[in-house]
């Protein structure tokens, strides 16, 4: 009420008073206003956590109403990393937009690339060669491991064990090195192309991946040994950040967070894209719905990813890595440099891009490390999407966080944020 009055005092609505009042009302009701009510003893306190807080994984802002160390109510405020990516997409060709997806979930850029490419390929009906699909799978699974490694390091660091972060980064560093060899970029790789991938894997890269798949499980089991029987770590995570089956389903929580409440929802099995129907893997699922179960699920998923990568390496056969249709994908560099048609097609692709049929719309989702990452595209027949809506897993998972925080302690906040594993770049887009 005070807020409303103070705003009204300042601006004095004259035009469409009713409408403006409604606007102010909505501002006042803004999700992120917390005021202490009914506090005769004066023991409560509002704590503002973030957006510049080292443990909120970027620029997440939390408003906590505290009684001692206990959280009574909380509000989440997001949007501090909003860059208007969806709007940018409307002014870019589909291929040009891909580097932006790298910067959404910046911990697993490859998954985002795959999500965009598969969505565009679905709307433009582009066939992708098998080898390209396997390469994409390897990239996506490596990105998943990389993302889960950061989850592991960050969450364990949030509980107070600082060294773990650096141990997981040692392995992440190896994944970066692989990506360096994979597509010439360590971090924001942008290796996918609509209709295939940019380049084939070099033998050196394949041997690096093989070496990684062999040595990683050992490191993984060391971590399990260190954490699973660590009483403090166990107690910090067990029964912390509980979310029920119903709540999780209603809020649209996806990814490891929903598998932690016992919903085996994994798009790789549920609606296979790429070649996920041809490889064998399990979906780790738990029933508890607490932070510990989310940890276990991610730990197991890393091993499943290793399993998938191994199968992909076995099943990959030599062949083209991009579709052979100049209207649907960039021509290879050889064609561009040594043939007139190639050069023209290259210009056309850069200038106009891939044009899906007019008036068509599609939604395609992939299982990103954080959950269901979907791209909804409406086409008007040009090379730019008329509208692109990104369904990002971090955004929906953060809704779950608000439910989890009530009644927990301050020290749990950071652990829970770590357990949910949001990336603000993706949540705020």
């Amino acid at each position: 009420m005070e807020l409303k009055n103070s705003i009204l005092d300042k601006s004095k609505p004259t035009f469409f008073e009713k409408h403006q009042n409604a606007l102010y009302k909505s501002l006042e009701d803004k999700h992120t206003t917390v005021e202490v009510e009914q506090d005769p003893l004066g023991t409560r306190m509002i704590l503002n956590m973030g957006p510049q807080h080292p443990a909120t994984h970027g620029v997440l802002r939390l408003l906590l109403e505290l009684e001692g160390e206990k959280i009574l109510r909380n509000r989440l405020d997001i949007g501090y990393l909003h860059r208007g990516i969806e709007k940018i997409a409307e002014n870019k060709t589909y291929q040009e937009f891909m580097p932006y997806t790298d910067r959404m979930d910046y911990l697993s850029p490859y998954s985002n690339n795959v999500a965009l490419c598969t969505a565009v390929e679905k709307i433009a009906q582009i066939e992708v060669p098998d080898r390209a699909q396997y390469i994409r799978m390897i990239g996506a699974e490596l990105a998943r491991i990389s993302s889960h490694l950061l989850f592991l390091g960050a969450m364990v660091m949030d509980t107070g064990a600082i060294s773990f972060f650096i141990w997981t980064f040692k392995e992440r560093e190896r994944i970066y090195d692989i990506f360096d060899n994979f597509g010439g970029h360590r971090f924001t790789i942008s290796h996918c192309r609509i209709g295939g991938v940019h380049n084939d894997l070099t033998p050196e890269c394949i041997s690096m991946i093989k070496e990684f798949t062999e040595s990683f499980p050992k490191e993984h089991s060391d971590w399990l040994k260190l954490l699973n029987k660590n009483r403090i770590f166990y107690d910090r995570n067990a029964n912390v950040g509980n979310i029920t089956y119903d709540q999780a389903l209603q809020l649209g929580v996806t990814g490891p967070n929903i598998r932690a409440v016992g919903v085996p929802y994994d798009i790789r099995k549920f609606d296979p894209y790429l070649k996920y129907d041809e490889v064998e893997f399990d979906i780790p699922t738990r029933l508890e719905g607490d932070n510990l179960s989310r940890y276990f699920i991610r730990m197991e998923e890393m091993l499943e990813s290793i399993r998938i990568i191994r199968q992909c390496l076995d099943k990959m056969t030599p062949g083209p890595i991009r579709t052979d249709n100049a209207k649907q994908t960039y021509p290879s560099k050889d064609e561009v440099y040594y043939s007139m048609e190639g050069l023209i097609h290259d210009f056309m692709m850069t200038d106009t891009g891939i044009c899906p049929p007019a008036g068509v719309e599609c939604y395609h989702a992939v299982e990103a490390p954080k959950g269901e990452l979907g791209f909804y595209i409406q086409s008007d027949g040009t090379g730019h999407p008329w509208r692109m809506k990104i369904k990002s897993p971090s955004f929906t998972n953060l809704q779950g966080l608000e439910k989890m925080l009530d009644g927990e302690m301050i020290a749990d906040t950071v652990v829970m944020i770590g357990g949910i594993d949001p990336v603000m770049g993706e949540s705020d887009k």
Binding site: M45, L47, H53, P54, A55, E69, V156, M157, D158, T159, G160, A161, I162, S163, I166, W167, K170, L226, N230, I232, F233, D235, R236, M409, I410, A411, D412, T413, V414
Partner: protein
């Protein structure tokens, strides 16, 4: 109690200088050991093997701007960093470093130690309050609660050692451990004491006061320059003091293990050789305990506030009382029937 003599002042000067230096050595050791644990190199640029790094750190701190929060309490904000340092320095008065090498033989040495050690928390609590920041306040409150909860088990663990010595003087306490160290005759007391010392020193897993993750530094969030440096210094001095206390109470002080059985092989008491041996044995044990402090810090996660309380009050306190009663009973039986 004897009046201090000239050699006492000498020992005081040497030990104070040593304690202040030990903080620098600890900083260097912590950074190198942390680096070793984390597959890193650690500081290796300043001086040989980076040994001058602590000096560089101090110079950096001195040249930083000293900021006091506008709405904070300026007096308390300035006084607060001094308290932990002073209390840490006071502790050294009663610790025996060797045979006859002590500053003062206080007949209530144990009480003095417990009293001085618990004063240090005032600095942290005052710092938290004077900063006028919610995060700092939480740190300060946590510190007070933590200190209260762990004083008691610590006192009981020490009391169980007092039973063996039959004296509150630390010199007597060390001398009773000549044959059997406290850790061998009173292992439960040792564990309780070590846990409580970790809590008193505010080190992981009991560093809720700082809680880098959720409280972003806790009580020293609003401190900068040498005021922060004082807290930093105090933290490491408390680590050293804690290690010295563990050594004195449970690891036989300056005695080699089971030294009483082969005392005739060692140099005679009162000679230089004996003094050097004693000091090195004492420092060796202290260094080992400091290493344990550092080792634990970089491997173990932190407790939560309620877990800390339940560990202190529901587990350690009953255990330490039971330990005390059982030991008292056994000693009574031994004294009566043997």
């Amino acid at each position: 109690m004897e009046y201090p003599i000239v050699s006492s002042y000498l020992i005081l000067a040497v030990s104070l200088a040593f304690l202040l230096q030990s903080a620098a050595v600890c900083v260097y050791a912590e950074r190198r050991i942390a680096a070793f644990i984390q597959y890193r190199v650690g500081p290796n640029r300043v001086g040989p093997f980076g040994a001058l790094q602590p000096l560089a750190d101090v110079i950096k701190l001195i040249f930083k701007e000293d900021v006091t929060p506008i709405y904070g309490n300026k007096t308390l904000h300035t006084v607060a960093p001094l308290i932990p340092v002073v209390t840490a320095l006071l502790t050294i008065a009663v610790i025996p470093f060797g045979d006859g090498l002590f500053i003062v033989d206080l007949n209530v040495g144990v009480l003095y130690l417990l009293a001085v050690a618990s004063l240090g928390v005032y600095g942290v609590t005052m710092a938290g309050w004077a900063s006028n920041s919610k995060y700092s306040l939480f740190g300060g409150l946590r510190a007070a609660a933590q200190m209260l909860s762990y004083e008691l088990p610590m006192g009981m663990a020490v009391a169980s050692m007092v039973l063996f010595a039959g004296s509150l003087s630390l010199i007597d306490m060390v001398n009773t451990q000549m044959y059997w160290w406290g850790v061998f005759v009173n292992p439960i007391g040792f564990i309780i004491f070590v846990v409580a010392t970790f809590a008193e020193a505010n080190r992981t897993p009991f560093d809720l006061v700082e809680a880098e993750q959720e409280l972003v530094g806790g009580f020293h969030t609003e401190y900068s320059s040498m005021k922060f440096g004082m807290f930093f210094l105090a933290e490491y001095m408390h680590v050293v003091i804690g290690s010295m206390l563990i050594t004195t109470f449970f690891l036989g002080g300056y005695h080699l293990p089971f030294a009483g059985y082969y005392a005739h092989l060692l140099p005679e008491a009162g000679t230089w050789a004996k003094a050097l041996l004693d000091i090195h044995v004492f420092l060796g044990k202290t260094a080992f305990m400091v290493f344990v402090f550092i080792w634990v810090r970089w491997t173990i996660p932190r407790f939560k506030y309620n877990q800390l309380m339940s560990l202190g009050w529901a587990k350690l306190l009953p255990l330490s009382i039971a330990n005390f009663v059982i030991i008292a009973f056994i000693l009574m039986v031994i004294h009566t029937y043997m």
